[in-house]
């Protein structure tokens, strides 16, 4: 049967709805990276000495990496060399006297921006049950529901505030999961990070609402380097969600974040990401380089860390949310949907490092490739000698739309304890013209067909997202694939 493959091709025609620019006066440092830049950032934030020291150490380490191999080369992604001297490392919307104290002080233009993005920051308009920290370029502009959370002893604030108000916690945990020596981008982030979110859930507290950070890159030529640190004390529970968007620009912009999670005995952290950075245009021009290090440590017994990510944006994604399963009986989970369309590239997956006894991990990865997109799953399951009775289950599925895209799978297994059980399953399938025609013959449009197939494919992962965001993620996939079959 002869069929024309161009039906599937035409769906690669997306619109990015979040690509507007906010006209706002910014307080920015000149582009370029040096010890002076770092001192300047640290001074702007009134940081204590230990913080500056840490940054400078990270910077010096980064310099040695930059002088030798620079960026890690092992990932299945391709991009021209990045000129780190051309990046602006700090850009903040201008405010009167030292930053907004409450929402009334926030520039209305910023509030409008978040409203336009569907993230109202005024508490009465907000989705009930979600507290939001809004990060705009290099700084946090607002954090909602802080008082209500404070009554329970929960700290939810910007990273900058945490450094000033809870230095002992920051000192204790910063870099304890992702040291600045971890990798090139982690070192860079440690040197220049400007803001991010900080959460601390005290012993025995179940956080009553979703905590959420919404990242927005706005200024041109600016890199966003944020840092998130979540600490869940014994027996606590928290569900955290992050979302992100950026304007459409022809130049690539770097986003190099670090996220560290620490779960003590019997604590659970659920971390969900809906990543929708600007992916670049149809020819692959522009878009965000999303080079992110995310790792959680299940420090305590019976602790649990669960990562769920829906990655639809960015020109390039390099990201491996991982779990160090140190406490006995601790559990690590990774649920991922990664979509690459047009010329997007993704090399994403996870590392599950089993150290404690009877530790368990689950990996479910769903990769969708369309257009010329290249999608790689890279995952490591490492079972150390001490991890008696450890178990892992990995499932890794790829879905292809059209015949110019690619799906790749790089699973690594390292098992040093003979009592461990490790399972790996993988499939690759293609949305065929046959399937599309079947839908159309039943009265459904091509968009409906692709949407239903893709959502069916991702169901296992969407199930893990908080309700409102699952709906959001479904819609997002629909938009991202708009026009890729036609």
């Amino acid at each position: 049967m002869s069929t024309k493959p161009d039906t599937i091709e035409a769906l690669v025609n997306r619109e990015y709805k979040w690509g507007f620019v906010t006209e706002i006066e910014a307080d920015a440092v000149p582009s370029g990276l040096s010890e002076d830049t770092i001192r300047l950032i640290s001074a702007k934030k009134n940081e204590p000495e230990f913080m500056l020291e840490w940054r400078l150490n990270a910077y010096r380490h980064w310099m040695t990496l930059e002088a030798s191999d620079a960026e890690p080369k092992w990932a299945n992604i391709h991009y021209p060399p990045i000129d780190y001297q051309k990046i602006v490392y700090y850009s903040a919307p201008k405010t009167k006297k030292g930053g907004p104290q409450n929402l009334e002080d926030v520039d209305p233009e910023l509030l409008r921006t978040y409203e336009k993005l569907g993230i109202p920051l005024r508490e009465r308009e907000i989705l009930s049950g979600v507290a939001i920290d809004a990060v705009f370029d290099s700084v946090s502009v607002a954090t909602t529901f802080r008082e209500k959370l404070g009554e329970l002893g929960i700290i939810f604030c910007s990273f900058s505030e945490a450094v000033l108000e809870h230095p002992e916690l920051v000192k204790k945990y910063l870099g304890s999961v992702v040291p600045y020596t971890d990798n090139f981008f982690a070192a860079l982030n440690s040197a220049v990070f400007t803001d991010g979110s900080f959460c601390y859930i005290p012993k025995g507290v179940r956080c009553p609402m979703e905590l959420s950070t919404y990242f927005r890159i706005n200024a041109k030529n600016t890199g966003q380097f944020e840092r998130t640190l979540i600490i869940a004390e014994e027996g606590s529970y928290v569900s955290y969600l992050e979302g992100c968007t950026a304007p459409m620009r022809d130049e690539n912009q770097l986003h190099a974040a670090v996220v560290e999670l620490i779960a003590h005995d019997d604590a659970t952290i659920k971390y969900s990401t809906v990543q929708n950075w600007y992916p670049g245009d149809k020819e692959g021009k522009g878009g965000i380089y999303n080079f992110v290090t995310k790792r959680g440590k299940c420090l305590g017994r019976n602790s649990k860390i669960s990562w769920t990510q829906v990655e639809t944006g960015s020109a390039i994604t390099w990201k491996y949310p991982s779990c160090i399963l140190q406490g006995d009986n601790s559990v690590g989970e990774f649920y991922s949907v990664a979509l690459t369309n047009n010329y997007q590239q993704a090399d994403t997956g996870t590392k599950m490092i089993h150290i404690g006894k009877n530790t368990r991990s689950t990996i479910v990865s769903k990769g969708i490739s369309a257009g010329h997109g290249q999608n790689s799953y890279r995952g490591m399951v490492k079972i150390l000698k001490s991890a008696t009775g450890a178990r892992n289950y990995s499932q890794c599925d790829s879905l292809l739309l059209g015949d110019k895209c690619g799906a790749h799978t790089f699973p690594y297994l390292e098992v040093k304890n003979s009592t461990a059980q490790v399972e790996h399953e993988a499939t690759t399938s293609k949305i065929g013209e046959d399937q599309i025609f079947y839908f159309r013959q039943r009265g459904l449009s091509i968009e409906d067909a692709v949407g239903m197939i893709v959502n069916g494919f991702c169901k296992q992962v969407f199930r893990e997202l908080p309700m409102e965001f699952a709906v959001e993620a479904q819609k997002l996939l629909g938009v991202s694939l708009e026009g890729s079959v036609g």
Binding site: M1, S2, T3, K4, T7, S429, G432, E433, D434, Q435, F437, Y438, F439, R440, Q441, R442, G443, L444, S445, I446, D448, M452, I453, N455, G456, F457, C458, K459
Partner: protein, 257 residues
């Protein structure tokens, strides 16, 4: 309802249909028979709007409209249904969800309210009873892991739910054992209606013992070489297609009924 006039079509440059004429009225059942490669499935696919065929001549009118100018989904919404010879599997999409979306797309097109899950379930239950279908099939992904017989019955079941005006059944009998064939045939017979036309595309006569057609057409080498009543199928069964191919030459191509 359906009027095919001097239809010519090519696939990859090869002429497969060489002037088909066919008129189907509401309430009628037409059987289109013919040897492998005669163009039967091509005709069915062109009527449903599948890509990859080049219509080089002729026209197809459906309820007074130019069928060939309509998108496949529009044809479906206007009441054209194709039961596939090889129904595809769709992982992750439940039969129930799929069929409700399809029914609602059609209802919406006709200006009817969309059915919610509860109302839809009522419709499904009723049709399941009619076709003696197993309800567990509804919660499984579309055609995934279905046996050959289950897939074909599922096609007929979809037809029952979507209530088309013109149903084209492409080799719905192929690959079925005798029990499954009987069940599928019973289903088709229950869906016979004065309002509905059915075109059965088949290689063998055996389906026609259960679903008795009003007209039989024999397709050979892209033309209808003989048309007649139900007895033509029996004659064909006895004498084989070679009989017609030999005698094809003197018959005027495309007898219209």
């Amino acid at each position: 309802m359906l009027e095919v006039k001097n239809l010519h079509a090519r696939v990859d440059g090869n002429e497969i249909l060489r002037g088909i004429d066919l008129t189907v009225n509401r309430g009628e059942i037409h059987a289109i028979m013919g040897p492998n490669g005669s163009g039967k499935s091509t005709l069915a696919h062109i009527l449903a709007g599948r890509e990859g065929y080049e219509v080089t001549g002729g026209e197809v009118m459906y309820e007074g409209k130019d069928l060939l100018a309509m998108l496949p989904e529009m044809r479906a919404r206007e009441g054209v249904f194709l039961a596939f010879q090889y129904p595809v599997e769709i992982a992750g999409v439940s039969n129930m969800y799929f069929l409700r979306a399809a029914l609602n797309a059609i209802r919406k097109h006709r200006g009817l309210d969309e059915l919610d899950a509860m109302d839809f379930l009522k419709v499904v239950r009723e049709k399941m009873k009619l076709l003696e279908m197993d309800e567990t099939l509804m919660n499984r992904p579309v055609n995934e892991g279905f046996s050959g017989g289950e897939k074909k019955r599922n096609e007929i079941f979809q037809m029952a739910v979507l209530e088309p005006k013109l149903a084209i059944l492409d080799e719905t009998d192929s690959g079925l054992d005798i029990d499954a064939l009987r069940m599928v045939a019973d289903g088709i017979n229950r869906l016979r209606s004065p309002e509905r036309a059915i075109v059965l595309v088949t290689h063998y006569q055996r389906l026609l013992s259960y679903v008795v057609p009003d007209y039989v057409h024999v397709l050979s080498d892209g033309r209808i070489v003989r048309s007649g009543g139900k007895d033509l199928a029996l004659e064909l069964e006895q004498k084989g297609y070679a009989w017609l191919e030999e005698s094809a030459a003197p018959v005027k191509s495309g007898v219209s009924l």
